[in-house]
């Protein structure tokens, strides 16, 4: 199910953003699992702070990349929410 634009996402409290110097990629680490993030994914998750809404995250990134990324951000966060990494 897609998250709404007013939803305020936060990371699962047992997950943390980290950096893997071997792969030179940002990663999400949590009990018994890790997700390798691409640049866009990392940019989205860095803005997930339990305060910003999905809309606000998309706005920040939209300005940065000079294009409307609302659909991409919603889809990405919804995918992580499905796996309970975003709540």
């Amino acid at each position: 199910m897609a998250l709404t634009l007013d939803f305020v996402p936060h990371l699962w409290r047992l997950a943390r953003l980290d950096y893997d110097p071997v792969r030179r990629r940002r990663i999400l680490q949590y009990p018994e699992g890790a997700v390798l993030l691409n640049e866009t994914g990392a940019a989205v998750l860095e803005l997930v702070d339990g305060k910003r809404t999905v809309r606000e995250i998309a706005q920040v990134l939209g300005e940065r990349y000079q294009t409307d990324v609302t659909a991409d951000v919603t889809e990405y966060l919804s995918g992580l929410a499905e796996r309970e990494l975003i709540q």
């Binding site: 047992l14 980290d18 893997d20 110097p21 071997v22 792969r23 990629r25 990663i27 680490q29 949590y30 009990p31 018994e32 699992g33 890790a34 390798l36 309970e84 709540q87």
Partner: protein, 363 residues
Amino acid sequence: MTSDRPTTLLAELTHRCPLHCPYCSNPLELIRGEAELATDDWKRVFTQARELGVLQLGLSGGEPLVRKDLEELAAHARSIGLYSTLVTSGLGLTRKRAEALRNAGLEHIQVSIQDSDTESAERIAGVSSVKQKRAAIALVKELGFAFSINVVLHRANLDRLGELIDLAGSLGADRLELANTQYYGWGLKNRAALMPTREQVLKARAIAEAAIERYRKKMQIIFVLPDYHEQYPKACYGGWGKLYIVVTPNGQALPCHAASSITSLSFPTVREHSLEWIWRESSGFQAFRGDAWMKEPCRTCPRKTVDFGGCRCQAFALTGDAANPDPVCSLTPFRRIIDEALAEPAGAIEYEYRELTGEPQRA
């Protein structure tokens, strides 16, 4: 090449354990305390694993708390950026040790529970243990570790699956792993006493599926169906030598914890070789990579990219050739081996327990 890198190291620090569970994933031939790797060996292995790309470390056993250097090993793992899970029975987790592990930077503790019914739990573990486990769990919660419970499911506890799930919920688990018994090593030896009936499995599946929804956002529940009752085999650790390395107490490096049961292969030890050489060059790790080793029907099967032909250890244990298809697969004639096992009438629940406890501890 990112895909060439392992993500997970399971460090079987010791085979010594106060419990005697009849489905233990350790091999039938247990390694004695004197033969275990020393502290510096393990540190070197962790560092090599991290350099190879490993992100997640399982500190496992046996009972890893038997090792006096567990705190030192956990601190080293944290210092090089590994995310560590302690896989424990809970026995031996005193306040002092739990606090030391917290200070060392250990993040996640997984405690095993044998059953929701005390008498049954202690019969399965072969030792009085429930009270000590509860005390350990209270410490894990109090000190704020990420906390998982794991339960191995089999005929003697499967009918209490609902109670087991609610027990894990009431103990405050963040995650609950419900793993059906796998039948190699000790599990295969005790298969007649462990194998659930089809009715039990179907009922359990419905209970687990409902509970996964009910506990959503409160407790993650992972339920893996027993592969004997499935049509297709499991994709073992994402394929042979792809993501996963196990190092045994005496330093043998394996692609999965049961791989030493495949006696047609040889596996090097971390005493003689670097983990990188073992991962990239050793014949044991290369044996079942890709699909050139596959026989029919796997070789031309579209599912070969889904399950990689299934479990090599199970193929070896049940057919005598590790390159055969996993007999669980309904597309192979070997499936009759599984069907015959399923058709055997349920015998008495009498276990052959594993033993390896009363040994001198190394520093």
